[in-house]
């Protein structure tokens, strides 16, 4: 079983401790044995993975390997994989085999990384619990009665369970950071436009960003080095040089100015989560940082504005699923209208249909200015709040979510209650700034993540802070009890 980090596997492969083919076979066998507990995978790509591993071994022997050559990982099932089924966790795409690879997938393939399979998620990335999947809910390895978070819940559970050392995720309103927080992982949502969206099935195009979900900041930096970069096939990709994200990991935090927005510590925050976060902030302070109280006055407005912008863009993006060119199509249509309406009614799940209808309403004649344009104006107010705050401080810290992972089934009846869970994550997507989660403690055995947000293209700074924090804490090293890897946790008092 893989509790090894990407960094360790990379070194083992270079040293010839085992081959990529061996670790790939072991990884796939382990997923087959243990994933029925978690349901974190939708499909395995065994044949493709073994071919990639064989090619990686040739590169390693020839001395032409890159740092990720031969290392196994999993893709969230939102990334198109050429020749391998890509579902977005929807019945609509249950049999969709993309004729092309996403840019992120291609960059990882070129680096020699081995994709062993595709992870479960909320359908079309719409959800905060991974309960909106056509392929069933995912269980949190830390507590099998809890959700893993969403929408990248399968990626989070797979890494937390030690099934794969790392996985890709996407974050439109918190879908990397919240599951990373709930599953004790390091996950980063880069600056909007830093990672190409090409070949990632679109949810809300002005907010979507992809990033890595890993066991450490070091691993996240290694993954982001491969994933990030300009792509002329994504019209919002930013043409700016990508630094080496591992280069700054060891910089000291002396003089770092950390802002704590009072709006992140209001009445809705679980007091035990608040304690974990404040303890983490103390550690960062002890590393030389200066803590400064700040305000992001429009934080609460990120919820209503997000739940206009995201569904509006989704209603437009998801109009492409019409049963004509790919994906599900209904039986025996009477005419074209019946064909469209029944194909989409049968192919999409309830939450997806709900968001398409909210978006359709918000964009419909007579409402566009009152909803979509209004939300875009509020979006600028949120961006301006961050600009003001980040002129005073280097980074902003707080909780990722108001509570630790909630129980499976506890929020499924009321979509609004589920939306309120996103209060601390949405604003980074609205502003387009980078943000990450790093493990910072436990409440009743369920993990809590520290949220670190920074200015545009400050990914290296965020990873540096998380890495320094991980040098003086061992939260990120804790393993979930359900994996059998946790024997030593008790001794450490986890």
């Amino acid at each position: 079983m893989t509790s090894k980090t990407l960094d360790q596997i990379s070194k083992d492969l270079a040293a010839g401790t085992y081959s990529s083919r061996e670790i790939t076979q072991d990884t796939i066998a382990d997923i087959k044995t243990r994933d029925p507990i978690y349901n974190s995978f939708i499909s395995l790509s065994e044949d493709l993975a073994l071919a990639q591993a064989t090619a990686a071994d040739v590169r390693i022997k020839a001395g032409t390997a890159d740092i990720l050559t031969g290392v196994p990982f999993a893709h969230k099932d939102l990334f198109c994989t050429q020749g391998h089924v890509t579902t977005a966790a929807s019945k609509m795409l249950a049999n969709f085999v993309p004729p092309y690879e996403s840019t992120v997938g291609q960059r990882l393939l070129t680096a020699g990384a081995v994709c062993v399979g595709k992870t479960n998620m909320d359908e079309f990335a719409m959800g905060s619990s991974n309960e909106n999947s056509f392929f069933g809910a995912v269980k949190n390895p830390w507590d099998l009665t809890a959700v893993p978070g969403g929408s990248s819940g399968g990626s989070a559970a797979a890494v937390a369970a030690g099934l794969v050392p790392a996985a890709t995720g996407t974050d439109t309103g918190g879908s990397i950071r919240q599951p990373a927080s709930f599953c004790n992982l390091t996950g980063i949502k880069p600056t909007y436009g830093r990672v190409s969206r090409f070949g990632i099935i679109a949810y809300a195009s002005s907010l979507d960003q992809a990033g890595p979900m890993c066991q450490s900041a070091q691993d996240a930096a290694m993954m982001l080095n491969v994933m990030a970069g300009f792509d002329d096939q994504d019209s919002t990709s930013v043409n700016q040089e990508t630094p080496d994200y591992t280069a700054d990991l060891n910089l000291p935090l002396t003089g770092l100015k950390v802002g704590l927005p009072k709006e992140f510590f209001g009445a809705g925050l679980n007091p035990q989560v608040a304690q974990c976060i404040m303890a983490a902030v103390k550690e960062i302070e002890a590393l030389g940082a200066q803590i400064i109280d700040i305000s992001l006055p429009n934080l609460e407005l990120s919820i209503p504005a997000y739940y206009v912008i995201a569904p509006s863009e989704a209603s437009s993006n998801l109009s492409r699923f019409d049963g004509v060119r790919y994906g599900y199509r209904c039986d025996q249509p009477t005419d074209l209208m019946d064909f469209y309406c029944r194909t989409r009614a049968q192919g999409f799940g309830t939450e997806v249909k709900r968001r398409i209808m909210v978006g359709t309403y918000a964009l419909s004649e007579g409402y566009y200015d009152a909803y979509y344009v209004k939300a875009q104006r509020i979006r600028r107010m949120i961006k301006d709040d961050f600009a003001r705050a980040l002129s005073q401080v280097d980074v902003i810290m707080g909780p990722v979510a108001p509570s630790p992972a909630f129980d499976l089934g506890s929020n499924t009846k009321d979509p609004v209650a589920m939306y309120l869970e996103d209060i601390y994550t949405l604003s980074a997507n609205m502003a387009g700034i980078p943000a990450m989660s790093t493990p910072a403690g436990f409440v009743n055995g369920r993990p809590v993540g520290l949220h670190i947000m920074g200015n545009y293209f400050a990914e290296a700074k965020l990873l540096n802070i998380a890495h320094q924090y991980q040098q003086v804490t061992d939260w990120h090293l804790q393993k979930p009890p359900s994996t059998g890897l946790a024997a030593s946790n008790q001794e450490k008092g986890a």
């Binding site: 969709f96 993309p98 004729p99 909007y192 436009g193 002005s206 002329d232 019209s235 919002t236 930013v238 609460e300 407005l301 919820i303 209503p304 504005a305 739940y307 209603s315 019409d322 049963g323 004509v324 060119r325 790919y326 994906g327 599900y328 199509r329 009477t334 005419d335 074209l336 209208m337 064909f339 309406c341 989409r344 009614a345 999409f348 249909k353 709900r354 398409i356 209808m357 909210v358 359709t360 309403y361 918000a362 419909s364 909803y371 344009v373 209004k374 875009q376 104006r377 509020i378 979006r379 600028r380 107010m381 961006k383 009321d414 979509p415 609004v416 939306y419 609205m430 387009g432 545009y456």
Partner: protein, 95 residues
């Protein structure tokens, strides 16, 4: 803003979604509560604030109008639910 079943029926047609009669109350209720959440926006004074559509205020990047990839018709047709002679099949539109 409260909406009624008739509004959901209209939205569903616009969205090309068939809504089952036994699901319509659920959609009306849940979408009404989402719209009340969204209506918090209306209390905010946004006069003089420019709408933000791209976080970097970037505009559409243009490129030369030249062919950049080969025709992949066969690959695309191969994954379609129903085709004939290289064309997509849909229900009859004209008699």
């Amino acid at each position: 803003m409260a909406i009624e079943n008739a509004d959901i029926e209209k939205i569903a047609v616009l969205a090309r979604l068939q809504v089952d009669p036994n699901e319509i109350n659920d959609y009306t209720n849940s979408i009404s509560s989402i719209l009340s959440l969204i209506d918090q926006m209306q209390q905010v004074d946004t006069n003089g604030i420019e709408p933000l559509s791209n976080p970097h205020d970037a505009t559409q990047r243009l490129r030369e109008d030249i062919v950049t990839c080969d025709n992949q018709r066969d690959a695309f047709i191969a994954i379609a639910p129903a085709t004939q002679d290289g064309l997509y099949l849909v229900p009859k539109v004209l008699d």
